[in-house]
Amino acid sequence: MTRFFSADEVGIRHPRRPAGLLGLLALLVGGCVQVPAQDPGPSGPFDPPPPSLRRLTQGQYRSSIHDLLGEDILVSGSLEPDAAIAEFFAVGASATSISPRGVAQYETLAYDVAAQAMAPEHRGALIGCTPTGASDEVCARASLVALGRRLWRRPLTGDEVGELVGIATKAGTTLGDFFSGMQFAIAALLQSPNFLFRAELGHADPEAPPTAKRLFDGYELASRLSYFLWNGPPDDELLAAAESGALDGREGISAEVKRMLGSPRARRGIDAFTSDWLQLHGLDDLVKDTLLFTQISPEIGPAAREEAERDVQRMVLDSDGDFRDLFTARETFVNRRLAALYGVHAPSLDGFGLARFPEDQPRRGLQGQIGLLAMNAHPTSTSPTLRGKFVRTILLCGKIPPPPVDVNTGIPEPSAAARTLRQRLGGHANGACLTCHRQMDPIGFAFEHFDGLGVFRTRENGVAIDATGSLDGTAYSDGNGLASALHDHPDLAPCFVRRLYRYASGHEETFGEEAQIGRFAAGFKNGNYRVRALMTAIATSDAFRRAGQDGE
């Protein structure tokens, strides 16, 4: 049989960690038993996979336009959707392409954006010369050299500039206006794969043996750093650092990373990571029965998303606190709508302010917020399984396979004997279902004090809520106890390091990176779980500057 695709071509191309005999056995037994990672040891080599093109995510496209062409430019209309792979859009961006409809959408947007950029009140910021007529090659060239370097995140070649000047000249002549002509050249810059994809491909390191890894040049590193830390393009200073060679050395990189984390753009970067890490895009289109949840409105989901983003921002950039406290915190940012749902006084009439969850509710941490509770629930009810699965997989990096086929997944109707969802889910405690559901449901039960929208309740169908459960041997009576168990769970911090590394590198981590991830995790622990220090460690590491050789 002909093989139509090489292994490289079927999606994620990076080899997964070999499961080993123990892992295979575990999968055969139940499918939900954790596969113990082979430990490559603290001094294991760093052997990363080859580099991939990374498509700008929707957020990165928008921030690139705003940072480089003007904050006031409207990016309206839809963009090629992001796709999650390995639970991250950042990873999907390394595997997906652009559909024909996406190409057409990018074209429409490119002309829309270019027209705004060249509007009379706006173009002064982007065109540094006064054109002598409808076609002025000198002025077009000077402008496009500067614009191109920003938009493509590297200097353009002579050929590239020449083609763009040709477009500007031809269009300017045809339309009888220099700035109309420039619109077409800018539209060409914006539709180019050199803009839409980040070509961080590296080059063979001349000072290393032939087996060594590919090394990113200064411009590629500038782009890696800025999309990691800012979720946006390099600014002029970063490009200047690339040009001067400052990014070729550890000292220069450290200085730039420090500057970048001190910039307001770092807040945008943290938000983007938070959203991707916690899958908060699920809050953009919540489906909830408005007759049951009368407080729901279309603004709740986005507000809850902002709440979580602000909390992480505060911890990373303002208080520089212990990462684990994100899961026990009682303080959170709320606006008036969220305050009403939490049953607290709104700290501010408009916008967000700090508030404290009520002391008489077992509500704590990110996992106790409206956002994650509403997202991991059903339109009319809670879901201990979905909520537990989120904690198990996203926060603790456990793996839960899909339910086997031909299993009757029906849940009994409420009855006199089983009035609460928890009672009705009792069937999960039997036989084949047990292996996986015991990894999820006992965590999820801790959230049963919060309805399908995340609002506090003490009873369900007249029966007092039972929120007891246990997390890997630590028993608790409600969400407070779960928060503490989560805070102290040995997998929590290592899992976070793994997730942040995955986000930064744009691929699902491979076995050759385990040792390096282990070193990051050890540093995170030794530094008392400071995320800012972890981000700095990743961004300034030798690992972040290198990729593997392409197999070809």
Binding site: A188, T290, D550
Partner: protein
């Protein structure tokens, strides 16, 4: 002008497996009914292909019609299609036989691409893209992907991780099809002078992509090839706007839909949106803007609140006890929207027949019984006679749980892709379903 010679067609041909398949061009002549059914320029009415897809399956016990062959009576779940009975073939009892590793994903991947999902994505192109590579070359859009549920995951795949996401905003769909630049038959206004400039910009982008490609490994080259394919399709779309509109009797520019269809009490206006989308797709076909489409009514695993349902759709398929009356009502309401869509095609008169006569629509879902994620007795409906190439008004009941990809292979052949086989591993078949072919 310097241009990559690797066309979309060549790429897809490679995917189909070299010797096993040749993509015939032009493909249509063999399937034309020659008895005077033709457009004004004497070209025969082309055969259109579409997928109409909904998420979360059916209830097999209430799905298969009573009676076989031409004498079938609609089952409870197919009752909305009763008036179209003569134009529909129900294929029941067949199974998707590729591995069922991804609930709600393996079914459509197996049926439409002939292989299971791998690494969270289809591993091969879906049938609509294979057909578009064959017959999509002459229309403005090689294929059109639309949807009703507000979501952006698509089932149409050009290759692994190469998804064609559905357009789910009726207004954006209208703008794309009939917005600026579209000229209906008889509209003699001049084409926009900027079209040529847009073309030259795309020439430059193509050059840039070509240079980038030389620096990439195989996987990234293939990703960029899809980008380049999209650019070529956009060039074709621009050229189509520059050409004089065809004289097509049934083509008229429709009215623009509303900008927004907001949820009502947490429930999406699925029926209203579906009907607008149906009419737009019908007119896109009548105006020969495309000949291939995928209409995703709802997404796999969707948890939409349907009218009067007490829980989300997906949740109900798993949790609802007994005979699942709520799931049943939801399936019936979805089939009613399918009936509206097919009715919209039937309303378009083309010569002695209708657009539906000149089409074949494969209506299917992601599972059969949602509760168990079953791929047995898979829901498969075919509507329209494909210009006389397919029998209609039949119920074909498989006695041996035959491989559902036999239907896929049949459809490929009917649409002019001379495939000797389809699918790989347990999805592979070499024979079509002769019982439904004229």
């Amino acid at each position: 002008m310097a241009r990559s010679k690797i066309s979309r067609r060549t790429v897809l041909k490679g995917l189909l497996g070299g010797a096993a398949v040749s993509v015939a061009l032009p493909p249509l002549e063999a399937f034309m009914n020659s008895s005077g059914t033709a457009w004004a320029d004497k070209s025969p009415f082309p055969t259109r292909f579409g997928i109409w897809y909904w998420g979360n399956g059916n209830l097999p016990a209430k799905w298969a019609p009573a009676g076989e062959g031409p004498d079938w009576m609609p089952s409870p779940q197919l009752m909305p299609l009763a008036s179209l009975r003569k134009l529909i073939t129900v294929v029941s009892g067949m199974s998707v036989q590729t591995a069922n590793t991804v609930p709600h994903g393996s079914g459509p991947a197996g049926l439409l691409s002939g292989d299971d999902m791998k690494n969270d994505t289809f591993s091969r192109p879906s049938i609509d893209q294979l057909i578009a590579a064959s017959i999509g070359g002459s229309t403005r859009f090689a294929s059109l992907e639309v949807g009703v549920q507000r979501a952006n995951k698509g089932i149409s795949h050009t290759g692994p991780n190469q998804v064609n996401p559905p357009e789910t905003s009726p207004r954006a769909l209208f703008d794309r099809l009939f917005g600026a630049g579209f000229r209906a038959p008889g509209d003699m206004s001049k084409p926009d002078p900027k079209l040529a400039l847009r073309r030259s910009v795309l020439d430059a982008v193509t050059l840039q992509a070509g240079r980038l490609k030389t620096r990439l490994g195989a996987t990234d080259r293939s990703r960029l090839d899809q980008h380049l394919d999209g650019i070529r399709q956009l060039e074709k779309q621009i050229d189509a706007l520059g050409a004089a509109p065809q004289s097509l009797a049934a083509c008229a520019k429709p009215a623009a839909p509303k900008d927004d269809y907001p949820d009502v009490e947490g429930r999406a206006q699925l029926s209203a949106i579906s009907r607008v989308v149906s009419d737009l797709v019908a007119m896109a076909l009548a105006c020969d803007q495309t000949r291939v489409f995928t209409n995703m009514f709802s997404q796999p695993v969707n948890n939409l609140l349907f009218p009067s349902a007490t829980e989300g759709h997906h949740q109900l398929t798993h949790d609802e006890a007994g005979d699942q009356p709520q799931v049943d009502a939801i399936v019936v309401s979805i089939i009613a929207e399918l009936a509206y869509f097919l009715g919209a095609l039937q309303k378009v008169q083309e010569g002695a027949g209708t657009l539906l006569d000149h089409s074949v629509v494969l209506a299917t879902s992601d599972v059969s019984l949602g509760r168990t994620h079953s791929l047995l007795d898979y829901p498969i409906l075919l509507a329209g006679g494909a210009n006389g190439a397919l029998k209609t008004g039949l119920h074909y009941r498989s006695k041996s749980s035959e491989n559902a990809t036999r239907v896929t292979l049949t459809l490929l052949r009917v649409l002019g892709v001379h495939a000797t086989e389809f699918g790989v591993g347990p999805g592979r078949v070499t024979g079509g379903l002769d019982a439904i072919v004229v």
